[in-house]
Point group: C2
Chain length 245, copies 2
């Protein structure tokens, strides 16, 4: 439990400040999923305010899905939800299993190197080392190639990744479980298979593939960049959503 040393934005109202303080603790990983946040009466004492004020702050965190409350037990940091109602970050093994198919996976390459200008993401902002882990792997369902994945992981953001066994666990699944993220961007395109993808996916060159690029941030820091080529005939992305969050 670290000292309350957050940047402490000049939030307008007290309940916003309380909310921001708690949110910062959660997003920083200081309070991991499952952690019990202080009781209302403790926060009341800490901030010297009425319970309604604390309640309003926590209620907005509940609305945002960051916190879950249980009577008598307390309020807890929610488990990160892999499925947002919107377009989510798919965990391929889980998706394949959900369709009742057998998932398999091969690690094709693993290299530790310095980031350079040709990389599709700029890792240099965040650290001088700029070390990245470059991985490539192939996901299959029922023995049939499904997706070729090429990934960069920032070792400045995720030093533990250097020791992870990506021959056993796909890097996407590992990251979803070990690294909280605050923002992501998908870029989805249809492309013809290049030589490398054609060979890995066992399709003719030029066959339609779905290219899914994703950048993921934690705070302002790039965590990972991934590009996945899916066989066009074997995968589709589905997103169900409403006009307002």
């Amino acid at each position: 439990m670290t000292v309350q040393s957050q940047i402490a934005e000049p939030a307008a109202s007290l309940h916003q400040r309380i909310r921001a303080d708690i949110e910062a603790r959660i997003l920083s990983g200081d309070w991991p999923p499952g952690h019990r946040i202080p009781f209302e009466h403790e926060l009341m004492a800490q901030y010297g305010c009425a319970r309604m004020t604390v309640n309003k702050a926590i209620a907005s965190l509940v609305a945002a899905g960051l916190v879950e409350r249980r009577r008598r037990a307390g309020s807890f940091v929610a488990q990160p939800r892999l499925h947002s109602a919107m377009l989510h970050i798919p965990d391929i093994p889980i998706e394949v299993a959900a369709r009742g198919e057998a998932y398999s996976y091969v690690l094709l390459g693993r290299r530790r190197r310095l980031a350079n200008e040709k990389d599709p993401v700029d890792f240099s902002e965040q650290s001088e080392t700029r070390e990245v882990l470059e991985l490539s792997c192939l996901h299959s369902a029922n023995g049939r190639p499904l997706a070729l994945e090429e990934r960069l992981i920032s070792l400045a953001s995720v030093p533990e990744a250097a020791e992870a066994d990506f021959a056993a666990t796909p890097p996407g699944s590992w990251l979803l479980r070990h690294v909280p993220w605050t923002e992501a961007e998908h870029r989805i395109r249809a492309v013809g298979a290049n030589a490398r993808a054609a060979e890995a996916l066992r399709v003719p060159r030029g066959a339609a593939c779905l290219s899914l690029e994703r950048r993921t941030w934690r705070g302002g820091e790039t965590v990972t960049y991934v590009r996945q080529f899916f066989r066009g005939d074997a995968y589709d992305l589905v997103a169900r959503f409403s006009p307002q969050g």
Copy 2:
């Protein structure tokens, strides 16, 4: 202003009931965007409760993006936001214009007919008539074909569509502006261009295209089904999002 004749769910708490009542008025179109909802003191009187209770109800509608409040002026139904922070329903003319390109559009076909079993959506649940408007059109940017669109509009849900001039306004843009929706589902795939798409988009057969299928509902009722084939080399979908709405 219709009589309060909603289904009136057995909501647990008073502020939830107030919220649900207002939400129902908004989603039904009874209170259109821009409409001023009753003042807090009016709702207080109507429900015989304290202002904090009304306030809590309206605050949750603000959080959901359904309502905007202005001091001294009152609370208003928010304009539907075309861009949610997530994957939104793209309005192609606007997207093309935003890239600084010249948008053009041709209506290729328009037919009024009965829905049948071969349609990718089941329109039969909602009405006996099952009449649909079948449209096809081509979107271009700088004179270059961008997307071939095939669409079904339920005339039971949107009778006004029968009179709309889809030679002048693309059906997607018209619908976004005229019909509120409560839920949508995207299905995104990479496919090789079929004969029809190849000709319209002026690409070789089998060239990679992004297929975007979308079903849109209002309440439980299907409003429209659309399938768009984008040239793979001319379009990509971008979605930026956070773990929780």
